[in-house]
Symmetry: C2
Subunit: 205 residues, 2 copies
């Protein structure tokens, strides 16, 4: 291998990564503006400053782009929840921190989160099944947190399943209503929602 | 006026009403399935079993249908909240009943509610302004309820504005996650969410 080859290969890889990132960003904007069904691959290519032919090198269809956006967003959510849960052994503090990061994540990443949550049915059956599996993991983490608090006698709520659903729902819906020019920063919402989560589960402080 | 005229006019009016109702129903299904931007007036006419020309007699555009769906849904929400608020003078019972009807409304009317909440930006500027005005009235009712409880010393919550936002958000997002084949009836969700609302505002029972 010559010196020139050794430097060219990583350069090409990082150029391809940059192109893929640009396409994902263009797809998020286009889907957010006109919905998945109202968007063409031509719209996405144009928004990324590329030809439709160049887009096909990286993604065979707009559904494949939606799948990548969806898979990455759900995996980031799972990773953030896992880090929050691992940060302490107290169910009260675990729920507080999980709700905080879940809320901040949906306020900051609101455009992508709206697409991921409203366009689920546009995924192919195979991709849909894969994303549903990730969503079950997210739901399960919230439910486990609520049930751990009840088992340890620090939470008190009549229907743990519906309480976990309400907590997830509160977080997800931030992506719909949150405006960066409104009264609250994503961190303000995160702190306040962490407290509301503890109220919902009837946490003993 | 002859007897025949007297009976014909109401018959024609009720036939036109029935046609309009069929078009609204077809538009809700089409928008729910393919998004506003992915739906054509031809799709809506076909779903209602009509020709595109017959649709234009009743609605000049799909935007006009979206506007009618949106206006009616928001007005029904305001009416349901007003009835709940008028049913008692206790802030605790007013909030309990308002949250209950708001939640039941979003579980039962989930398909229309999703369209109304996710396709707001597809309305014309004039229609958008009109619907935003109705939404401000809804937000204001929830906020007034929370503040009345604080003033009377029966609610305790650090940020009443964010608590009211969370209550509205919990209700609206039911339209996204609720499934009629799941564990809960709309009434189950309504009862449970009424209790969660009182927890969120720190109500003294």
């Amino acid at each position: 291998m010559t010196d020139s080859e050794a430097t060219t290969a990583p350069d090409q890889a990082s150029r391809a990564d940059a192109t893929r990132a640009r396409l994902v960003e263009a797809a998020v904007s286009a889907f957010a503006e006109r919905g998945f069904h109202g968007t063409t691959t031509r719209d996405i290519a144009a928004a990324a400053g590329m030809s439709p032919a160049a887009l096909y090198v990286h993604h065979r269809s707009k559904e494949e782009l939606l799948h990548q956006i969806s898979r990455d967003a759900h995996q980031r959510t799972i990773d953030a929840m896992d880090a929050a849960i691992a940060s302490t052994t107290s169910p009260v503090e675990q729920l507080r921190e999980t709700m905080r990061v879940f809320a901040v994540h949906h306020a900051r990443g609101r455009t992508g989160a709206r697409i991921v949550n409203y366009e689920l049915s546009a995924l192919s059956p195979q991709h849909h099944a894969e994303i549903v599996e990730l969503r079950i993991q997210i739901d399960q983490r919230m439910r486990d947190l609520v049930e751990a608090g009840i088992e340890q006698g620090v939470f008190d709520v009549p229907d743990p399943g519906l309480a976990a659903t309400a907590l997830l729902s509160l977080g997800v819906d931030i992506a719909r209503w949150y405006r960066p020019d409104g009264s609250w920063t994503p961190e303000d919402v995160g702190e306040a929602y962490a407290d509301l989560a503890l109220r919902i589960v009837g946490a003993r402080e």
